[in-house]
């Protein structure tokens, strides 16, 4: 895992300025690295036959260290066994390296394919010239070029140096038919698995440096509060404590030569806080403010027909969701080594470039004076889309004049996170005489994640909603709008972001309409999707046929309509986000008025599947994550403080609660779309719809077990 050299950075960076994403042609004969074929920033082939694919996204469990190289290897005609990977740090070579928005595959599908194909073409040219035959007589296969007429073969390793003499084709031919795929679409073994079963895998929290010290921060427990003063007399008596000091308005750092020393030092540190303007903030007031804002003016996300002007049988409902925390298993951490005119960072981060830029800004450095290395991530779920941990670590390294690893405890992670925005939803519909909706309206009232972070949100619409608030049914009249409210509670992007809130409210409400019309919830949805239509939602086009497809497949796999064991009930829901279509059927029984989930069937249509095994992990894992969210995930605020602290009062799902989950996908050769987040949103409404089927009680507020 060596980061790109400075030399590569300069050469390729210059090429990047031309806007040709894959066209980074590195000159031959670079000092020290002459024995290498590196036609572009994603790929290196050495004469020993080793093929290194650079992964410019972060591995947080979703499998990018396997799926992205698979895409390149497919077009390269590589022998998968020869592929090794290199993790890119913050770079200028790869465009936006953010790992989020279920975007890694969908945004690198083209560049990775082109990178592999371009290299393949160069290797074929090299072999053809070597043999004095036409290119057309040669073919690439299994990391070698073959000339079948003369039964000659040269491996990519043997061709590597010669191939680097040729210009890179800018528009190499790509495979047109999925039937040609040998790697894409296959259950290739994950590259990262062996190191994760024997203790070798290095996460951020494991990273070591000579002379490394450890730090914990005492942060103001009240949102927006500050350090008034601190007394470190006791802290300094703890063995190994090297430094205590205020590193920002709201935090005091304790640096020691062991993690435990820093923990003990922080435990006895006496900080007086200036609690600031939020000292009386609490969850009840926040929800009251959301409800009160619901009558304000909304920014239109989607509108068709005249949603407000029809009369008939009118149905209305309000839904509400709490703040939630990501709680990845690896708590926050970051290693920083500040050296005056440079700073090096090792971080489990989803945003190496943001880390680079924010550390540079905080330290008064230029971005190219900050080097950011990306480690493995022990889960992300959006928490590591922030860069607070890196700025802190850099500040502590500077203040204490030492390389330092800042570690967050679980309580730090829970209480100083950025949270899924709490939301309030008002829905209404007018039904015709047959019970079909002639109008449908959904108003979202919530804080703006992007707005809170200071970026401009055109027309009062949080930009995330473009990917996460789609209406996928065809109604004659419909309105989806958004009322942005301000909140001091730090907001962040949590797996599926606003899609979870939108799906819970809208898919529960569709179920309400089906119940009011006395129709089967599946039939009701299929009727609304019956006509083949393209529904435009910002830049996306949602096809009713594809949503119908996942619904029908989920229903079939879950035996929808067939008898269930006594006491069991089913619910169904579907949603579209990050370009993908997802439907889920949940089977439950009620035990002491609580749902016990027995079985979940999930079906996704995410276009071309790269690796079915990894996709299955994303679906099943997403459903487990969503089930914990639906049942009991809630962050509450009292006296300006986050109440929950650890896995006792913010409890993820455990194995004895995990249902049987079946994961399926629709065979498709459409371009790939998101997979990490789409499995999350339909779970809560499908579950609550099952509860309704069992009890005739509608759950309109999450978590269920509150």
């Amino acid at each position: 895992m060596s980061p790109l050299s400075r030399r590569e950075f300069l050469v390729a960076g210059a090429a990047a300025g031309t806007g040709l994403v894959i066209g980074f042609y590195l000159p031959r004969g670079r000092s020290g690295e002459t024995q290498i074929f590196a036609p572009n920033a994603y790929l290196k082939i050495t004469p020993d036959g080793r093929i290194t694919v650079v992964v410019a996204r972060s591995e947080m469990g979703q499998g990018v260290r396997t799926s992205l190289p698979m895409i390149l290897a497919e077009e390269l005609e590589a022998d998968w066994k020869q592929i090794t990977i290199e993790q890119a740090g913050a770079s200028t070579l790869y465009g936006d390296q953010t790992t989020g928005g279920s975007a890694s595959v969908r945004t690198t599908w083209d560049p990775m394919r082109k990178a592999g194909a371009a290299a393949r073409e160069m290797l074929i040219t090299a072999a053809a010239l070597e043999w004095g035959v036409g290119r057309d007589a040669c073919k690439a296969e299994n990391s070698a070029v073959l000339h079948s007429a003369s039964n000659r073969r040269l491996t990519y390793g043997e061709l590597a140096i010669k191939a680097s003499a040729f210009p890179m084709p800018s528009d190499p031919p790509l495979k047109k038919d999925a039937k040609e795929y040998k790697i894409v679409g296959k259950r290739m073994a994950r590259i990262d698995v062996p190191g994760k079963v024997d203790g070798r895998a290095v996460y951020g929290i494991d990273f070591q440096l000579p002379e490394l010290k450890y730090a914990l921060l005492s942060r103001c427990p009240v949102i927006g509060g500050k350090v008034a003063s601190f007394d470190d007399k006791e802290t300094r008596q703890i063995a190994g404590v090297k430094y205590v000091g205020k590193i920002s308005d709201s935090a005091v750092a304790v640096v020691a030569d062991s993690v435990w020393g820093a923990m003990e030092g922080r435990r006895v540190l006496n900080v007086t806080w200036d609690e600031g303007p939020n000292r009386n903030l609490n969850s009840a007031a926040i929800f009251e403010s959301l409800r009160n804002s619901a009558s304000g003016k909304g920014a239109v996300l989607y509108s068709t027909g005249e949603a407000s002007k029809l009369s008939g049988r009118r149905i209305e409902a309000a839904y509400q969701l709490p703040f939630m925390a990501h709680a990845p298993m690896e708590p926050g951490n970051c290693v920083a080594d500040f050296r005056g005119s440079s700073c090096e960072i090792w971080a489990p981060t989803q945003v190496p470039q943001d880390v680079r830029d924010s550390v540079a800004s905080a330290m008064g450095l230029d971005p190219d004076q900050v080097k950011v290395n990306v480690t493995l991530l022990g889960g992300g779920f959006g928490r590591r889309l922030e860069h607070d941990y890196a700025v802190e670590a850099a500040l502590v390294s500077k203040a204490a004049s030492t390389p330092v690893k800042v570690i967050w405890t679980r309580e730090d992670d829970m209480r100083f996170s950025t949270y899924r925005p709490a939301s309030y939803h008002h829905l209404s519909a007018v039904l015709d005489g047959s019970g079909w909706p002639v109008t449908f309206a959904h108003r979202l009232v919530s804080g703006s994640i992007n707005g809170q972070k200071g970026t401009s949100q055109p027309d009062g619409i949080d930009v995330d909603l473009r990917d996460e608030a789609a209406l996928v049914y065809s109604f004659p009249n419909a309105l989806v709008d958004y009322v942005m409210v301000e909140t001091p509670v730090p907001l962040g992007w949590m797996r599926s972001v606003y899609a979870l809130q939108m799906a819970f409210a809208s898919e529960s409400f569709i179920d309400e309409l089906a119940a009011a019309a006395r129709k089967d919830p599946l039939d009701y949805r299929l009727h609304l999707l019956a006509k083949d239509e393209d529904i435009k939602f910002f830049d996306a086009t949602w096809r009713t046929s594809r949503m119908r497809g996942v619904l029908q497949m989920a229903a079939e796999k879950a035996d929808w309509g067939k008898p269930l064991p006594t006491g069991h009930s089913r619910g169904i829901a579907c949603f579209g986000c990050f370009g993908s279509y997802m439907a889920e059927v949940v089977e439950i029984s009620m035990e002491e008025e609580k749902p016990r989930v027995h079985r979940v069937v999930g079906v996704i249509d995410c276009g071309q599947v790269i690796n079915p095994s990894i996709l299955e992990q994303q679906i099943k894992g997403g459903i487990i994550f969503a089930l914990a969210n639906a049942l009991r995930a809630q962050i509450t605020i009292e006296k300006g403080r986050v109440v929950q602290g650890n896995f006792d009062d913010y409890a993820p799902l455990r194995m004895n609660e995990a249902p049987e989950i079946e994961a399926y996908f629709v065979e498709s050769s459409e371009a790939p779309t998101g997979a990490g987040e789409p499995p999350v949103p339909p779970l809560a409404p499908a579950l609550c719809n099952a509860v309704y089927a069992a009890t005739k009680k509608r759950i309109r507020s999450l978590p269920i077990l509150s």
Partner: protein
């Protein structure tokens, strides 16, 4: 600080740390065995699970003074002489996603199989419920333990 002697992965190790230091941090920081993970610091998630005299123990909540003279096995020691059948099953079933909790999961499963070489699915679920996986790998954990038990491996 007193010197404490441990037997870690078969080798005698002497450490001088604060007596209340949790075993977890001695393993990770002092002995550079970072395969054992910090998850909650409160014995709630199982990411820090190691074996002390063959029993699964939460190293984050075990003061070093309690394990003086005891024999400790970590994930690094489990497969020191070649991967165990359990670790091989973990690879065959491709269990890990982010992988952060998996060392603890494997140590917990290994201790289970030593006590009960043929656990039922319910026994597996109950025994493994102390270990949280936020990625949701539970079905593959179940399959891997079944596979290891079926192959007669002791984990």
């Amino acid at each position: 600080m007193p010197e404490i002697t441990l037997r870690v992965n078969g080798a005698e190790r002497k450490v001088s740390v604060l007596a209340q230091t949790p075993l977890l941090w001695v393993l990770r920081d002092t002995l550079q065995l970072a395969g054992t993970k910090f998850g909650c610091g409160a014995g709630l998630c199982g990411a820090c699970t190691v074996h002390v005299e063959g029993n699964a123990v939460r190293s984050c909540s075990t003061p070093i003074s309690q394990v003086a003279g005891k024999s400790i096995t970590t994930i690094e020691g489990l497969g020191a002489n070649g991967l165990t059948a359990l670790q091989q099953a973990w690879i065959a079933e491709e269990v890990p996603q982010c992988g952060y909790c998996q060392a603890g999961q494997i140590m917990a499963a290994s201790a289970l199989l030593v006590k009960n070489s043929q656990p039922s699915d319910d026994q597996i679920r109950q025994a493994m419920s102390g270990n949280i996986c936020r990625c949701g790998t539970y079905d593959r954990i179940l399959r891997a333990i079944r596979r290891a038990a079926g192959s007669g491996g002791k984990g």
